[in-house]
Amino acid sequence: MKFEHYGLGIAKGMALTFEHLFRKPITVQYPEEKLHTSKRIRGNELVWFPDKCTGCGTCTKACPQGNILLVTHRSEPNRFIVDKFECDTGRCIFCGLCVESCPYNALAMGLKYECAKYRRGDFILNKEKLTASENHRPSAYFRPQFDADLPAQSLLLYDREEGGQKLKFLPLSTRKRGPGA
C-alpha cells in the first residue's frame, strides 16, 4: 500500500472535520429540551376508555406477550362489566397490536415515553391507572381522531443548521414530571 494521494486523502478528511467545527451541533439536551414525538408514538402505557370498553377481550387475544389481564362478569344478557383490566408494562413490547385490534376504539397507545419506575411492581397498571385522563393522554396511533390535538413532530431533517424550520421544543414550563411530550 502506498501513499496513493500524497497525503491528500488525509488532508481532505481533516478539512471536513474542521468544517464541522463550525456547524451547529445536533445534540438535543434531553431533559431541558424535549422534542415533540411522533403523533403516532407507541408510547408507554395503554390508555383505556372505560365507557367504550365492552370487555370483549380482543386485545388480550391480540397481545403476543399475553400481557393484558381482563376479568369480566356478565351483568345484563349482552353486557360485560370489566372487573379487572391490568397490563404489565414491564413486559409489554409496545407493538400496538391490542390497539389495532380493538373494535370499539376503547384502547389507545399512550403519549408518555419516560417509563422508569423504582419497583417492578409499579409496572403493573390497573384499571384506574390505565383510564384516560388529562395526565394520561392517548396518542394517534390507529386513532386518527386524536391527531388534530397533538403537536406536530419535530424532525431532525429540518435541522437548525439550515435555518429553515426550527426544531420545536417543549416550553420549559412543562418540564415537570407528568404527561410526556
Binding site: 502506498k2 481533516m14 451541533p25 445534540t27
Partner: protein, 370 residues
C-alpha cells in the same frame, strides 16, 4: 539566572541554614510545577472533550460549571470513589507500582521545560537528552502494567508498547539532533534563545518527523495502538480501575502536554513572541499543538502494528537521517545572515523528499502464511 536561583540567593541573604537553602526553593519549585502541570492537564482533558465533541457535531460535556469546565473534576471524583479492583492472578506489587511509574517521569520531564526564560526548574546543559531519557521511562511502566495485569489484551498492548518505543525513539532523537546542532546546545533555554526564527521554518522536515514520532510516543491517534479500544479493549490499563486508572489517564494527558511543550520549545521558539507575556505565549503554542493532535484524533483511523513499524523504520528513519545530513551541511555552508535561503531550500527539500518517499514507500506486511 532562573527564578529559583534568585530565590536561593534571597534565602542566602536571609542567612538560612544550608539544608533549607537548598531544599526549600527546590520543594517550592516542585510544588508549583506539579500544581501547574495538573491544572493544565485538567484543562487539556476538558479541552479535548469539548473540542472532540464539536468536531463530531455534538456538544461535549457542558453540565458541570460554565461550559462544563468542572467536568474533569467531576470525573476525578467519580474515579476516586470507584472500587480498586486487582485481578486475582495479578502480580500485585508491580500492578501497584506501574501507575505511579507512569506518572512520575511525566512530572520529572517538566524540570527542564522552560515556561519562560527564568521559569524553569533547572536549566540542565543536557536538557534535551534528559527529556528523551526520562520520557521513555513511562513506556517501561506501561509494560509493567501490561505484564502485571495478567490479561492477554494487556500483554499484547505491552509488547506493542515496547516495539513502538524502540522504533519511534530513533527518528525522534535524530530530528532532535538537528535542532541541537542548529542551536549548538542541548540546554532547553539556549535552544529557545537560538530561535530568532522558529526552527519549524528552518527544519520543516525535522519538525514533521518529531511531531509524528511524538504522536507515537504519547500513544495518540493514528498511532494509538496501545489502547486501541476496538482491538484490545483498553490495552495496558484494561485491568485498572479507581485511582490507578486515574493516574494512567493523567499520565496520558501529561505525556501529551510534555510533548506539546517540547515541540513548542524545540520548533516553535518556546516562550518567544511579541506583545503578550512569555508564559502566555508558551501556553498558547502548547495549546495549538495539542489542538492539532486532537484534530488528527478526530479524523484519522489507526495504523496496524506492522504498518506502524514500517512507517518508523522505512519512512521516518531515512527521512530523519537525510534531514540531519542536510542540516549539517547547511550549517557549515550557509552563513547566518542568509537564513531565508535555508528556509527555501529546506521547504523545497521536504516537499521533494515526502513526495519521493510517498511513491517508494509501501506500508509493510500483509498476510502472513501460517
Amino acid at each position: 539566572m532562573t527564578l529559583l536561583d534568585e530565590f536561593q540567593l534571597f534565602l542566602k541573604t536571609l542567612g538560612w541554614p544550608d539544608w533549607a537553602y537548598y531544599s526549600v526553593p527546590a520543594l517550592t519549585g516542585i510544588v508549583i510545577i506539579v500544581a501547574a502541570v495538573l491544572t493544565i492537564v485538567i484543562v487539556f482533558i476538558w479541552w479535548e472533550r469539548r473540542l472532540l465533541g464539536r468536531f463530531q457535531i455534538r456538544l461535549g460535556p457542558n453540565r458541570c460549571g460554565p461550559e462544563g469546565i468542572f467536568q474533569p473534576i467531576a470525573t476525578a471524583v467519580k474515579i476516586l470513589l470507584k472500587e480498586d479492583i486487582v485481578p486475582a492472578k495479578a502480580d500485585k506489587v508491580v500492578h501497584f507500582i506501574a501507575p505511579i511509574a507512569v506518572f512520575v517521569p511525566v512530572l520529572m520531564v517538566f524540570a527542564v521545560i522552560p515556561f519562560d526564560k527564568a521559569a524553569i526548574l533547572v536549566d540542565l546543559n543536557v536538557g534535551a537528552i534528559y527529556i528523551i531519557a526520562i520520557s521513555s521511562l513511562s513506556m517501561l511502566a506501561i509494560f509493567m502494567a501490561a505484564w502485571a495485569s495478567c490479561n492477554k489484551y494487556s500483554l499484547i498492548a505491552g509488547l506493542r508498547a515496547i516495539a513502538q518505543m524502540v522504533s519511534y525513539e530513533l527518528p525522534v532523537v535524530m530530528s532532535l539532533v538537528g535542532v541541537a546542532m542548529m542551536a549548538s546546545s542541548l540546554s532547553m533555554v539556549k535552544i529557545v534563545e537560538a530561535q530568532t526564527l522558529p526552527f519549524i521554518l528552518l527544519q520543516p522536515l525535522g519538525c514533521l518527523i518529531f511531531f509524528l514520532g511524538s504522536l507515537a510516543e504519547m500513544n495518540r491517534c493514528p498511532f494509538d495502538l496501545l489502547e486501541a479500544d476496538s482491538e484490545i479493549v483498553a490495552g495496558y490499563h484494561t485491568e485498572y480501575s479507581g485511582m490507578k486508572f486515574a493516574l494512567f489517564y493523567l499520565g496520558e494527558y501529561g505525556v501529551a502536554f510534555v510533548y506539546a511543550a517540547v515541540i513548542t520549545t524545540l520548533f516553535l521558539s518556546g516562550w518567544q513572541g511579541p506583545f503578550l507575556p512569555p508564559v502566555l505565549w508558551f501556553l498558547i503554542k502548547v495549546f495549538l499543538v495539542f489542538t492539532l493532535i486532537l484534530w488528527m484524533r478526530a479524523t484519522l483511523p489507526r495504523l496496524r502494528v506492522d504498518q506502524l513499524m514500517t512507517f518508523a523504520w522505512k519512512f521516518m528513519l531515512p527521512m530523519s537521517l537525510i534531514n540531519l545530513i542536510v542540516v549539517a551541511i547547511e550549517i557549515l555552508l550557509v552563513p547566518a545572515s542568509l537564513q531565508w535561503v535555508m528556509i527555501v531550500i529546506n521547504f523545497g527539500l521536504a516537499a521533494v523528499l515526502i513526495l519521493l518517499f510517498s511513491r517508494m514507500f509501501t506500508f509493510g506486511g500483509g498476510r502472513v502464511e501460517v
